[in-house]
Structures are given as C-alpha cells and as structure tokens.
Symmetry: C2
Subunit: 295 residues, 2 copies
C-alpha cells in the first residue's frame, strides 16, 4: 500500500529496458540477486505480475508496460526535483537566477538571437544559458530538469505535457548539394525529395542507434551539412536553416512540406518569474514584424 520508491522504479526501468536482469544489474552497478529480489518485492507490493521470465531473459507483461511508462515519469520528475532545487539555491546564493534554454543546435538561429537580445534588455532578466540538444531531446531535458525552457518545433517535437506558446511558423526547404540538378528548381515536393535515387535521406541517431535504411548515419548537424556539401545526401529543414547553409548548399522551398511551428515550451507547473519574463519576451519579439534577415 505504501507508495513506490524511486529506487525500486529505477531498478524496474533498468530491467524493462534491458529485458535481462543480469545486464540490468550490471548497468545499475549491483549484483544480480538483489535486483531479482527487488523486482519480486515490487511485484508483491503491487500485487501485480510485471515480468514473464523465460530463458534468454524476461519480457514485460501488459501491466509491466504501463509501469515502464509511469516509472519513467517518476524518476525524471525526481531528478528534476533535485536539479531544480539545487539550482534555486545556487541562484539565491548571491548570483543571478539562471535560466537554461534547450535548443536544437543550429535551428531557429535568428529567432534565438532576437529573443536573447530582447530578453537581456528586460528589467528582471535572468542570465540565460543555452543548452544545445541533439535530435528531439528537448522534451527529456525539460522533463528531467536539465532545462527550464526549450525551443521546440512541431510536428517534430511533441509538446504534450508542457505549457507552450507559439512563436513562429515557417515553411520547409530541401537542402541540396549546390551542383545537383534539382538545385536549380524553384520548388520541390516531399515526394520528389524522398525519391532522389542518388541522394538518400540521412538517418539520425535516436538514443544512440540509427534506424535502418539506405542513407548515411549521422548524429549531428555538422555531419549532415558536410555530407550534403559532398553530394551524398539531402535534407529537409525549416526555412530558418538557411542560417547555417554553406556555399556548396542550395535551398529549394518545398510546396507540400507541412509548416513547422516553433514554440517555446516549459514544464507545466513552473512558477518562475524569470521564466515568465522570457516567455513574454519571446511572444512579444516574434509578434513584431521581422526586420528581413534574408541572406
């Protein structure tokens, strides 16, 4: 009946991810038997079978899948609690409050510059630390307290569970090698871009693994830019990606690419004044007409 401890949930998470008690124990830096027992005890306390044990490892029951989800939320919230509390104390410790803003490296560069500029002029502005995030990790960073706010892009990032404000809507462009025949086109369609035989779309790493497919495997924007310049791949990006194009790149608007909406998002329960000011600034400085930052 008593509530679950985060320790138990961390253990269960490790098992649910490894699907192998021995490996999970190793990952947790402990021996296998106590982990076995801890999981059994968790099952007894819940009165629920979480794992089915077979040779070659374990599998999750339906209830186990549910707990897998929920446990993730709990341990993220717990680590976020520790981080935010420490930061609150540090911020109170003489120095200014710091805000950590997660942004996908390279994206929305222009927007970000304007935002930071406008915010620093605010009366109660905090120091803003930019936390570059890899592909689509902004959500995790908000959830586990590494970031206080994030610039996120629908439909690529999910905003579920966060508060957010819409900042900017833009179209998408195909980024091609400048010397490629299609680079001369005025517009392209999604289908055309995905079907270029000599330019397969690159495969981004998710959680350290690359999805299968023909394209080159990449982990960051620079690798992608280089591969495009070398004529090995093509990419689809929001308009604002023009900021980081090389001279060997060409940008062609996509007519049927879904519009990309940039939002500023933050944890739903946040009460920080500095954050509120940042959000206010963000919405204000994007409401204003843009001063034509075209290249």
């Amino acid at each position: 009946m008593d509530t679950l401890e985060t320790r138990e949930l961390r253990y269960f998470l490790a098992v649910a991810e490894e699907l192998h008690i021995g490996r999970a124990a190793e990952r947790l830096g402990m021996a296998q038997p106590p982990l076995s027992r801890a999981i059994q005890q968790l099952e007894r306390r819940l009165g629920v079978l979480l794992l089915v044990r077979n040779r070659r490892g374990v599998a999750l029951t339906e209830a186990g899948e549910v707990l897998h989800q929920e446990a993730r939320v709990v341990v993220d919230a717990a680590t976020a609690a520790a981080r935010r509390t420490r930061r609150a104390a540090a911020g109170n410790d003489g120095s200014r409050t710091r805000l950590v803003l997660a942004v996908k490296a390279g994206d929305s560069h222009d927007l970000l510059r304007r935002l930071l500029g406008a915010y620093s002029a605010e009366p109660d502005a905090a120091e803003v630390e930019i936390l570059p995030s890899g592909t689509c990790e902004q959500g995790e960073m908000l959830r586990d307290g590494r970031a206080d706010a994030a610039l996120m892009h629908t439909p690529f990032n999910s905003l579920t569970g966060f508060d957010s404000e819409e900042l900017l809507t833009e179209g998408q462009i195909a980024v091609l090698p400048a010397r490629h025949p299609l680079a001369a086109r005025a517009t392209l369609t999604l289908a055309e871009v995905s079907d270029i035989p000599d330019l397969p779309l690159a495969r981004w790493a998710r959680d350290g693994v690359h999805p299968p497919g023909p394209g080159p495997a990449i982990t960051d924007q620079t690798q992608l830019a280089q591969l495009i310049a070398l004529g090995r791949t093509v990419a689809i990006h929001p308009d604002s990606a023009r900021a980081w194009l090389w001279t060997e790149h060409a940008a062609v608007p996509l007519i049927d690419g879904p519009p990309v909406v940039t939002h500023i998002a933050w944890p739903a329960h946040s009460r920080s004044l500095a954050l509120a000011a940042l959000v206010r600034t963000a919405t204000r400085c994007t409401d204003a007409p843009r001063p034509d930052p075209s290249a």
Copy 2:
C-alpha cells in the same frame, strides 16, 4: 548525488505543508526525531538549506518552495504509477479494461450522457466508471492516477500538463431563486450578479477550507441548489447547468460572462487504446449538431 526517494519527498511535503515538524510527523504516523533527521539528511544530500528553523515552527527557504512544487509532482506521479499499474493488471485479468472519467458532479450532464451513449457503441469500448469530483479536483485526479480522463472547464480548470481536446463552448447563466425580482430579467451582467445585496455569492471549499467572505459556505452542488431555492444565494454556471435546475430556480443568461469551454483531458503520456477511443468518440459526438436539449 543519488536520486531522491519518494519517502523523503513525502516527508518533506508534509513538513512544507504543516510548517511544523511535530505536526508533520504526527500526520505521517511517525515520531518527530526521525523526521527531523530525515529532513536534515535531505538537506545534506541536496547541499541546500530547505527550512529556516524558528521558534513556533519552520519556514521554507526559496529552494524549499521549489522543492515543495517539485515534490508534489513526484509523489503524485508515484502514486499514479502504482494505481495505473494495478488497474492495468486488473483489466487484463479476464475482465474488460476500465476507464475512470472524472467529472464535476452535475456539470455537462447532457454532454456526458451523449458521450457515454456513443462510446458504448464503439467496437473497442471499455467500461467507463464515472468518478464524481468536487470543485476543480479533476487535475489532481488525473495527476495521481485516480482518473484516466476528465471533463474540464476552462477558465475554471487549468489544462496545463495534460493533453486535451476541446468539446463544447457555452455561455454562462446566473441561477437565481425563482421568486427573486432579477429572475424576470432577460439578461444580466457579471457586475449585476455579484452586487445583489441580499444574495451574496456562495463560497466553495478549497482543500477543506472556505475562503472568507459574506456568502454561505458550501461544499457541493446540492447544498448550493438548496440555498438558491431558499433565496439565500445566487450562482453563476455554464448553460449546461440547466440540467439540474429546480422548479424554484430561475436561469438568466449572462451577457458578459466569459464563455466556458468543456475539454476532455488526459495525462500527457498516456498510451491507452481505450482512452484514445474515448477521446475520439468525444470529439466526434460533439462535432455533430446538438439535438436541441433545451428545457
């Protein structure tokens, strides 16, 4: 460095709410000294001062306030994890999946009836349990796992942290004693209703305590209905409240009342198929033109 345990956070929550270690210990069913120690240990592990101890109790530091917020999230998530896991197992246990839908008792009665009717006709419908909630508790119920979904009303409920779909927008009405002079009016304004000298607005209990003021203190809809019928108070409600009006009540539309939007909301990370079907049904059955359910 290790993550916080929910036990510690429960302890801290009790202290943060009572602002008195002895009382908090009593509430937790433990002695005072171990609680004192536990909090000190928490402070040491975080490296952060959470409480300032004065005679007559303790107060929260700024960091303490932050942890107060965050801890609430964590323990709610933990109890939700236990509840949802148990329910998932129970649902898998031969019987059908059950969905718990939190609704403010009496509100949106007609909408609810149509929703349940339409949903039960769905192929993969689960059994829906209606969980009547008091004033504005739907959010808590979603957060701590007592409910899988909730009907919520902006601007009264906050949707932050949940996924939601808009279902229905309606105006507001003033509910008056039928014999009151103003009951004959065709329309009223917010200002007029709040200023009726002999009918002060009732004061709803929040967390068991009533805000101060002149009106009668109430805890549920029935009390309110009775007091209105007795000519002691007046209330402002969405249109759909007409469903529970007594013959001794009169309803007068408010022209400047903000529109009330009914949403169906659910935890952001939910993956339940049954829930998805319920949401789909809800949006569909409110898209259709209403069959004029006027009294």
